[in-house]
Symmetry: C2
Subunit: 226 residues, 2 copies
Amino acid sequence: MGTVDTVTPLSPTPRSTVRRGAKRARTDRAELHAVLDAGLVGHLGVVLDGAPVVLPTGYGRRGDTLYVHGSTGAASLRAAAAGGPVCFTVTLVDGVVYARSAFHHSMNYRCAVVHGLARPVTDPGELLLGLEALTEHLAPGSWTATRQPDRRELAATALLALDLTEASVKVRTGPPADDERDLPGGVWAGVLPLRTEAGEPEPCPQLPPGTAVPDRVRYRGVTRSS
Amino acid sequence: MGTVDTVTPLSPTPRSTVRRGAKRARTDRAELHAVLDAGLVGHLGVVLDGAPVVLPTGYGRRGDTLYVHGSTGAASLRAAAAGGPVCFTVTLVDGVVYARSAFHHSMNYRCAVVHGLARPVTDPGELLLGLEALTEHLAPGSWTATRQPDRRELAATALLALDLTEASVKVRTGPPADDERDLPGGVWAGVLPLRTEAGEPEPCPQLPPGTAVPDRVRYRGVTRSS
């Protein structure tokens, strides 16, 4: 029982092949894109002096290239990420799975894990396209509605590109997977669904009173955080 | 402008000292606890064959010890994490910051980063306490309301302990930090607050019809995901 789903490698390399919970793997590239597009932040892992460093960062996608905002991390992180191996993970938590035993408590979620070598973006054209992807991912409509980066800002921006070649998606949905022995106990079991909701937009105090909230903010499709 | 906050090391080691955005650092240990307690999943980073691996996992806290559910990752991850250096990061996304320029778009968030050596929990007493912390973090009230782990389940559980000694907290709140030159443009700016909401509990199909949803589920304080 339990519509327990999958982890699937989208590439056959050992580290992106999910060994545990293989039922939860998804192989479809469209599903990888869907999870990445639905997230808001990801967690970028790099190795620094032999130890892992994991920091949250915004991102954007263009086809099978992921752009990560290098400047959201420390300078040391940027240095490590420029050309070194990275792991970028986006997780969407969809619900708390209440089981009849503590052991079978779980979460429903969608998770995309990308491995690869980060490539610093230096070409001015790609830098602009990458920043557009990043901005539009965070705030759809903002790239054209606000002032675009000038030369000084572009120079201050560290953007990393990551190929979506080596990636896996893991998904869990559905009710708990309880033991048969626990079914008769009368303990409630099921799923408490979770979703990210937007509240009322809070205008900047320096905005002239009465400035209308634009549709791109008011009706923003709320992506899921993590 | 921008009530831009802080990143603060809770310990003075180089890697937990936030170099960038030091205004956003927080030094208070209570704030570290608060961020960890408010999260639902964290991202555990380990080094595997020289490359970082970042996977989401549930966790629980007891004082200044964090317990992480080792079995949520691949066997290779468990192996790497047992005694090796790890980084555990919890991020709560509080809002999308809309600025008057693409460059100043941002997110409001709270983020806790913990560095350390993962210690596999083998003592039966600590294993139970750690699993209780983990279960109660995910599903408050479930530890006593559901069947607790038996010997077989305990044997199948890999639990890692991580000291909260070397940690930092980074927080951003408030409106965008726009350039003076962009203020007169008439572009809307502000914050779209985001929060995690629980939906209607979905009973397990194998539950006898009419089984009441317990208060621990119905009125669960919704923690924030990431």
